[in-house]
Symmetry: D2
Subunit: 275 residues, 4 copies
């Protein structure tokens, strides 16, 4: 069972936390702790043997920790997610496969596409697919439709699995630190559109992909994980895109695993990742 | 300041440890803890703000922890090492350079070679070089001479930086878990002699190097770190050796850094590495 | 359009080959050539602009090259494959997905399982699945049934996508250099059964996977590609298996891409890979 | 013996080149050829058995190839280099070590520093060190002094081994495609000053280093090689710098090897690298 804690740092926090657990007779199987000394922030993730009464331990911890502490004892062990897509299949297929074989660590509630292309693959796995056309619509209207579909599913996370629309600040703020995007470059290199074209023109020898939380600044949210792959002069633009797909799929899969296992903490537009 | 602890696992160990520190007013800046549930072993590495009285804290911890606990508060922050070499220069040069610019995290007391080839480079950095010829000598005599030179330096570790003699169990047992070797393969592949020749003949697509503690079983000691590099059909044996050098240098450098920073614990012929 | 050539080496081969092409007015867009000087073998892969009459060029090349030359001009551009599986889903799912979206570079004719577990996923992609129970059957009988199903599909390659039965020399020799296996270790480390258990017990810091052609020596066939992933002390056996899956999927996918694009040549139990 | 050729692409170039060699009785041991179809540029690197009369072959090739062809038969097999440094030791030490043990593939003529810090290490290897103070001097004067020292050595390449001054367009144009720089980021991420500080603030999970030819646009020259290393939240700025050093050393060493072995071609601000 997992316990995650984030709060202002103080002397004695580990002692306070571990006393509560020791008193309950719980054994700490593994523990990761990090203090950002400059930001004065404390982060901890503990794995303990099974807890009979998670709510009680959570209350007890909140009682003895600093006021601003965020504590989750046994946070929702299987997350619910909604996946947003456009036309590219690779990240979605990977998610659907893992979901189907129960190795995703989350449950896919539905897929939403601004193109109908990926309805077929979704149906093959019997996951509901909603097509929302964005043509001849304001972003506002499009996002209202999006929200109307998403909200009833009450997802823990929205996964942008190669969703090629930029979401408005208003939409993003409705899902704070709940939206995960895969950007097809090694951020902060090649921010914005057509990163593979930019990479091709620059003649880089390594390409990358970055999974990050979405905030209001395009491609500027907290980075969760990055993957790279070597390339060379023989790679045309199409080859870069093809090689990049493997990176994108792997980076997003890794990021989801880390987030779904409650290994990722966010502060100051950065992440602490206990991997 | 670093604290490392290894002992039998029990409920409440983190609480016990952190109470001792909290009572002293010490803040835990970072903490790594691991329990091997099967082996029932507890490992912890803590970084705390500076401790006025390390011996006192150490005694206090030993008093409250399980009887078999090994505790080091502020373990010898700069290790002393003796480096054993044969003819190959790359690992030794890297060690000498880092030592010279104070980035090795250890102090090189002397170099010992069973060939004189590397005396010149050692002298350039003004590090004593001892040549011990192994020809027309039993292993016993050779190792007695070796010990006679090593012992007065009282090294924390012996680094086998491409030292191509196999040490006897008797010698090894004089320096328990104090001898670090770099093996020029991705262990356990290609145990023994001529790993690059073996790799060449097998046609592998990746070669590796392994830094490990030396025990009585050849190439079977606890692994500290491994590095790999991709190769292909165009690599002849000499090219493999050349590419392998970079791996060997990097793997040994990384292993030394981890060990010198007290990040490596050994048990059951394995390591716990808090990197 | 691709041309691949393998033959005994002689002075002037590139000149001979390129003259044939220049005479026909064909432009060599890219060329990779390798000579194994010790084995006296010549390998070349050329990409030329489209060839009107591949058979003619092939004949012309065979006429002027050494007698033992193997020449393919525009080799079967989309291969047909049969995939053999047992229970594990990850490699098969990846193959089915790529096949479905036409990015596999081959056409999956059918799936054969010695367990029925993966019939469901195969059906979702409308690929025929044949279940051949191996229980209470001699290997001979089992393999006869296997051959009876495989042969009518006339596959270019048999892909062992986590097929956990060892094939007999007789079966293997019916498909010379046409069977590709994914072995769940960094060969030659951990040959044979339970490589992750072996890796766990040895305490390695990197695990790998190896895609290779199957020959009569178990896990000893020519290596096509290898992938690795770092692991650490916190990985239990189940975690190694999970991390290993990503390696296995990636290594097999890469190997298939290389083979299907006619980039792999085999000789002396090794491969030349023009990647 | 190596032959490198770069020219406008035409049908039959490989045939033309290989005929010249076949006529002379030379065997092509390995060959890499690449055509950039869009730029209509042809690149080739051939390794042939030893050539008695390189000048004759070179003339013959120039006679039959397109007018703009650049041909080098057995290009200066050991390059002469001048190394420019500031204060950081790691790249220079690596160069000095390899130079000393004859594995650099080049001969270090001298070191020039705009600080005196690295004079000591240079002297240990008996390589001339020139200190040119840049204080209270215009860039013009500084660079005149630099040129005055460099020119007599007639170096093939100038290596900027953590040289922290920006060179003027005028200086750069005196050494066209002869200046190699190591930039301490994964270009084009973190162009300009303090890339590790930028990386720290952005919270990236991978850092990199880029070796490139210097042109008049800062950090915008053709990329030769890039290396990366994973980092995490526990890396402070100093840790990033330390981890980055390994990348920088490795990327520059690799780039030098590739350039010194005549494996790198430049055009359109990109490189073709036959590695």
């Amino acid at each position: 069972m997992v316990i995650v804690i984030q709060c202002t740092d103080e002397v004695g926090l580990v002692s306070i936390i571990s006393s509560v657990l020791a008193k309950g007779g719980y054994n700490i199987v593994s523990m990761r702790e990090h203090v950002d000394v400059i930001a004065n922030q404390f982060f901890a993730r503990l794995v303990v043997n099974s807890i009979l009464n998670p709510e009680e331990i959570e209350e007890e911890l909140l009682r003895v920790l600093p006021q601003n502490a965020v504590v989750h004892v046994n946070p929702q062990p299987e997350k619910n997610i909604v996946v947003l897509v456009t036309k590219e299949y690779h990240c979605l297929s990977d998610i659907l496969t893992r979901n189907h074989f129960k190795t995703l660590g989350a449950n896919v509630s539905c897929i939403i596409g601004n193109h109908p292309d990926l309805e077929n693959i979704s149906q093959r796995f019997q996951i509901p697919f909603h097509f929302i056309n964005h043509h001849e619509k304001t972003k506002e209207v499009f996002e209202e439709e999006l929200k109307a579909i998403v909200k009833p599913y009450k997802p823990d996370y929205l996964i942008l699995a190669k969703f090629m629309r930029i979401l408005s600040p208003s939409f993003v703020s409705s899902f704070p630190l709940q939206i995960i995007n895969i950007h097809h470059s090694f951020l902060p290199a090649f921010i914005g559109a057509n990163p593979y074209k930019q990479a091709f023109e620059r003649g880089v020898k390594i390409i990358g992909a970055t999974a990050h939380f979405v905030t209001n600044d395009l491609d500027e949210g907290p980075i969760i994980t990055q993957k790279i792959t070597p390339v060379n002069h023989s790679f045309g633009l199409k080859d870069l895109v093809r090689a990049g797909r493997e990176n994108e799929t792997a980076a997003l899969a890794k990021a989801m695993q880390l987030v779904f296992e409650d290994r990722v903490f966010v502060y100051n537009n950065k992440t602490v990742v206990f991997d």
